[in-house]
C-alpha cells in the first residue's frame, strides 16, 4: 500500500524531476541530456537542472523511507514491536543546559572565525564537551528503567571528570579576566581594584560563614553574578587594551619596568 507520506514525497520527487527535465529542455538542453543526467547531451541551465535533480533525489529518499516504514504510523510500529500500544515517540526529558551551551559553543566558534583563532578553538572545545555530555545524558536515560539509578550512574561516571575540568577552566578564565582588568588600570587603580576585590571576596566569605543557614540560591546567585561581573570587566578591559609600559634605565636587560599611570 502506498502511504500518504510516500505519496507526498514521491510526488515531490516526480515534480522536481519533471521540472528538471522541463527546465533543461526549455533552456538549451540537447539530445537526451536532461533525461540521462547529462550522459548524452547537454542539460541546459546547470543551476536549475542540478538543483531540481538533487531535490528530486532527496525527496525520493524521503519517499522511500516513508514507504519502507509505512509512514511510521502508530499501528505499523505496534506491529513491528508486537504490542498493542507502541511506546511514545518521545519520553519526557527534563530541563537541560546542553542545548544552550551547545549553541553558545557554535556562536563562540563563529565569532572566533572572524575575531581570533583562540576563540574559535574555545568554541570547538565547548562543542566537543557538550557533545560528550549530551551523549552521556542520553545514554544514562536509557541505561535502566529506574530514573534514580540512571541519574546516579551518570553522576558517578561524569562528576569526577566534570568537576575538576570545570573548576580549572573557571579559575583560568577568572584569573585571565582579572589580569586584563589589572593591566588595563592605572598603577594606583590596579592596587585599588585588587584591594577592593580582595575585600569583597573576604567580606562575602565572612558573611556566608557567619550564616550557615543562608539560602543556597542566594549563595549561588551571588557567586554567579560576581563571576559574570569579573568576566564582563575582563572583556571590557581586554577591548580597552593595556596601559602604556615604559622601560627605564636604557641598556639591555638592565632597567626595571615602570608603569605609567
Amino acid at each position: 500500500m502506498l502511504t500518504t507520506g510516500f505519496k507526498l514525497w514521491f510526488g515531490f520527487f516526480v515534480a522536481a524531476f519533471s521540472a528538471a527535465v522541463f527546465a533543461g529542455y526549455t533552456s538549451g538542453a540537447t539530445e537526451t541530456g536532461p533525461i540521462s543526467l547529462g550522459w548524452k547531451g547537454g542539460v541546459g541551465n546547470h543551476v536549475t537542472y542540478v538543483l531540481f535533480v538533487v531535490a528530486a533525489a532527496v525527496f525520493g529518499l524521503l519517499g522511500i523511507v516513508a514507504v519502507a516504514f509505512r509512514d511510521a504510523d502508530s499501528e505499523s510500529v505496534a506491529e513491528v514491536l508486537g504490542v498493542d500500544t507502541p511506546p511514545p515517540a518521545q519520553t519526557q526529558v527534563g530541563s537541560s543546559i546542553w542545548p544552550v551551551l551547545g549553541a553558545l559553543g557554535v556562536a563562540t566558534l563563529v565569532v572566533g572565525l572572524v575575531v581570533s583563532s583562540a576563540l574559535f578553538v574555545v568554541g570547538l572545545l565547548i562543542l566537543v564537551a557538550v557533545s560528550l555530555e549530551w551523549t552521556m545524558t542520553n545514554w544514562s536515560e536509557r541505561a535502566t528503567g529506574d530514573p534514580e539509578v540512571n541519574s546516579e550512574l551518570r553522576e558517578r561516571l561524569l562528576r569526577p571528570v566534570e568537576i575538576p575540568i570545570l573548576a580549572l577552566a573557571g579559575i583560568g578564565v577568572l584569573v585571565l579576566a582579572m589580569s586584563r582588568v589589572l593591566l588595563a588600570s592605572s598603577v594606583n587603580g590596579a592596587v585599588l581594584v585588587a584591594g577592593a576585590v580582595g575585600v569583597c571576596v573576604f567580606g562575602a566569605a565572612f558573611v556566608f560563614s557567619r550564616r550557615p543557614n543562608i539560602s543556597r540560591r542566594l549563595v549561588s546567585t551571588t557567586l554567579i553574578l560576581s563571576c559574570v561581573a569579573v568576566l564582563v570587566a575582563g572583556i571590557v578591559a581586554a577591548a580597552t587594551g593595556e596601559r602604556e609600559f615604559h622601560q627605564q634605565g636604557g641598556g639591555s636587560g638592565g632597567g626595571h619596568v615602570e608603569v605609567d599611570g
Partner: protein, 527 residues
C-alpha cells in the same frame, strides 16, 4: 488550561528560577513561546529598519537619515532578511513547535533537546546577524563600503540562523511523522500540521542551498581580496532569491494550514474536501521551491525569463484561488447556522489568503517579460503582500492557539486591532510599491530619486503613502507585542476556547520544569 501548577515534589532550592527554567527548558510549549516572543521582537526591529528606509525614500535628495546609499542598502536588505528569517519563519516555527505535537496526539516534540538547541542557535545567530548589520557589515552594498570582517560576521550569523531553523524543522517534521497517535494517518492530520510538513520539507531543501551560497561567499571573502563570490556588490544578488518569488511562498505556506484549521471551527462545518486541501497545499509547496532562481549565476537567457520560472509563477495563482474557494465554501455552508462564530482570527486568516493571492498575482505579472517588472519595486510589493500574508496568518495563529500555548486569555479586540493595523500597513506599502513599480521605480532606488528622473511622476507621493504604511506596520507589530505581554497577565484560559474539533483542544498539556534530566516529575498542567 496551561497554567503551570506548583510542583509539589520540589521545594525551596530545588525549584529552578524562572531564568533557569527558561534557559534550560526542553518543554515544547516553552520553546514555542520563546520562538514566538523572539520572532515578534525581531519583527519590531526589522520594521524599524523598514520604517527608516521608507522615511529616507520620501526624500532621497539629501540622504538625511542614512547619509549614503550604501547605508540605506544595508538597512533595506536587513529589513528583508529580518522580516523573513528573524520574524515570520520563527513565529511559524514557534506555533508549530507548540501546537503541532498536540495536534497529532504527541505529548512532546520529538528530540526536545535538539529543538531547544535549534532555538538557541537561531537566537544567537540572529543576534550576530543584527550586530553584523549594525557595525557596517550586512550582505554587501552597491558601493562596497562595508567592513569585510563585519560582512563575514553577518554571513556567519545568517548561517547560524539557517542552521537553527533547519534543526527546529527536523524536530517538528519528525514529530509529525513519528509522533502521531493511533488512527491518525498522515492523510487525517489537521491542515496546519500538513502545511508545516509541506513547508518544512521545502525549507529543508531550499535553506541549505542558501547556506551553500553564504558559505561560498564567506570563504571567498575570508580567503583573499574577494573577486568571485565575495565581491561586495554581488553578495546580495547571490542571496536575494531566498527573499523573492517563488521562494517567499514557501515561507508563507503555513498560512494555508492556519486558515484551514480556523475556518471549519468558526463555520461549524467540515471542509468540503479535506483531501483536496491537502493536495492543494502540497502543490503549492512544489511551486514554492525557489532555490533554482539564482539570477546571479545566469548564463545565456536569464533564469527569470525562462519557461520554468514563468510557468511556475502562473500556476501558483489558480492554486491559491482554489484554496480560497475551499475556505469560502466551508464558510458559506456554515453561514446561517446559529452556531457559527466570527472570531478575530477568522477574519485575519481569510485576509491572509487574500493577501497571498495578491502576492501570487503580482508574482505572475513580474514574470511577464514585456512588463519589465523584475527589477522594479513591484518586487518589493510582491514580497510585502506575501510575507505580510504570512505575518497576518501568524498573528491569527497566536490569537487562535495563544490560550493553549500560554494558558491565559488575551484581549482579542486589541489583538484584532493590531493585526488590522498590520493589514492596512501591508496594503499601503504593497499597493504604493506596486504602482511605483509600474511607473518604473527600481526595487532599490539607491541614490537620488531626482537624478533618476522621478520628480513629478507621483512616485514621491507613493513613497509617502508607503511610509504611512510602514508606520502602520510598526504600530501593528508593537500592538502584537503588547497583546502577548497582556496575555501573560490575563485571566486563566478555560480550555477549549473555540470549541475546536482537533486534538490539541482535548489534550492535557504537560510542562516539565525540573532541573534534573532524570528525576523530573512531569508537572501536570491543570485544566
Amino acid at each position: 488550561m496551561t497554567e503551570t501548577a506548583a510542583d509539589t515534589t520540589r521545594t525551596g532550592d530545588d525549584v529552578p528560577t524562572a531564568l533557569e527554567a527558561a534557559v534550560t527548558t526542553t518543554d515544547h510549549l516553552r520553546i514555542g513561546r520563546a520562538w514566538i516572543a523572539s520572532g515578534v521582537l525581531f519583527l519590531v526591529a526589522s520594521l524599524v529598519a523598514g520604517l527608516l528606509v521608507s522615511l529616507e525614500r520620501m526624500d532621497l535628495s539629501g540622504m538625511a537619515v542614512f547619509g549614503d546609499a550604501d547605508s540605506l542598502f544595508r538597512f533595506w536588505s536587513a529589513y528583508r532578511v529580518g522580516i523573513v528569517l528573524l520574524a515570520v519563519v520563527p513565529v511559524v516555527i514557534g506555533l508549530a513547535t507548540a501546537v503541532a505535537p498536540l495536534q497529532v496526539g504527541a505529548s512532546s516534540v520529538v528530540f526536545p533537546r535538539a529543538a531547544a538547541f535549534g532555538f538557541w542557535v537561531w537566537a544567537l545567530g540572529a543576534a550576530i546577524t543584527v550586530a553584523g548589520f549594525l557595525i557596517d557589515g550586512g550582505l554587501g552594498t552597491p558601493g562596497g563600503t562595508s567592513r569585510t570582517d563585519a560582512v563575514a560576521l553577518t554571513l556567519l550569523g545568517l548561517l547560524m540562523v539557517i542552521g537553527g531553523i533547519c534543526c527546529a524543522t527536523v524536530c517538528i517534521l519528525t514529530t509529525i511523522v513519528v509522533g502521531r497517535t493511533a488512527g491518525m494517518t498522515l492523510s487525517r492530520v489537521p491542515l496546519f500540521v500538513w502545511s508545516v510538513l509541506v513547508a518544512g520539507s521545502i525549507w529543508l531543501v531550499t535553506l541549505p542551498v542558501l547556506a551553500a551560497n553564504a558559505v561560498l561567499i564567506y570563504v571567498d571573502l575570508a580567503s583573499r581580496s574577494a573577486v568571485a563570490f565575495g565581491a561586495e556588490d554581488t553578495i546580495w544578488e547571490q542571496l536575494s532569491w531566498a527573499f523573492s518569488h517563488p521562494q517567499v511562498y514557501a515561507f508563507a505556506l503555513p498560512l494555508v494550514g492556519i486558515a484551514g484549521d480556523i475556518v471549519p471551527v468558526a463555520a461549524r462545518r467540515r471542509h468540503g474536501s479535506h483531501q483536496a486541501l491537502l493536495v492543494l497545499t502540497a502543490l503549492l509547496g512544489v511551486l514554492s521551491f525557489g532555490a533554482y532562481a539564482q539570477a546571479a549565476f545566469d548564463v545565456g537567457t536569464p533564469i527569470r525569463e525562462q519557461a520554468i520560472f514563468v510557468v511556475e509563477a502562473f500556476l501558483v495563482v489558480p492554486l491559491v484561488l482554489l484554496v480560497l474557494f475551499g475556505l469560502v465554501d466551508t464558510l458559506w455552508r456554515g453561514a446561517g447556522s446559529r452556531r457559527t462564530r466570527m472570531p478575530a482570527p477568522l477574519y485575519l486568516s481569510v485576509l491572509s489568503v487574500l493577501f497571498l493571492l495578491a502576492g501570487t498575482v503580482l508574482g505572475a505579472l513580474r514574470a511577464v517579460a514585456p512588463l519589465d517588472l523584475l527589477e522594479r519595486s513591484t518586487t518589493g510589493a510582491q514580497f510585502t503582500f506575501t510575507i505580510g500574508a504570512a505575518l497576518l496568518a501568524a498573528m491569527a495563529g497566536t490569537l487562535w492557539w495563544g490560550d493553549l500555548i500560554v494558558g491565559r486569555v488575551a484581549p482579542q479586540g486589541f489583538g484584532l486591532a493590531s493585526a488590522l493595523a498590520v493589514a492596512v500597513g501591508v496594503e499601503l506599502v504593497a499597493v504604493s510599491d506596486m504602482i511605483s513599480g509600474f511607473m518604473g521605480l527600481a526595487d532599490f532606488t539607491g541614490g537620488d530619486l531626482s537624478g533618476a528622473g522621478y520628480p513629478g511622476s507621483g512616485v514621491n507621493v507613493l513613497n509617502t503613502v508607503a511610509f504611512v504604511g510602514s508606520v502602520h506596520l510598526l504600530i501593528g507589530a508593537l500592538g502584537w507585542l503588547v497583546t502577548g505581554v497582556v496575555r501573560f497577565k490575563g485571566a486563566r484560559s478555560l480550555g477549549d476556547t473555540w470549541g475546536g474539533h482537533t486534538l490539541e483542544w482535548t489534550t492535557e498539556t504537560v510542562e516539565v520544569t525540573s532541573e534534573s534530566p532524570l528525576l523530573d516529575a512531569a508537572v501536570e498542567v491543570g485544566a
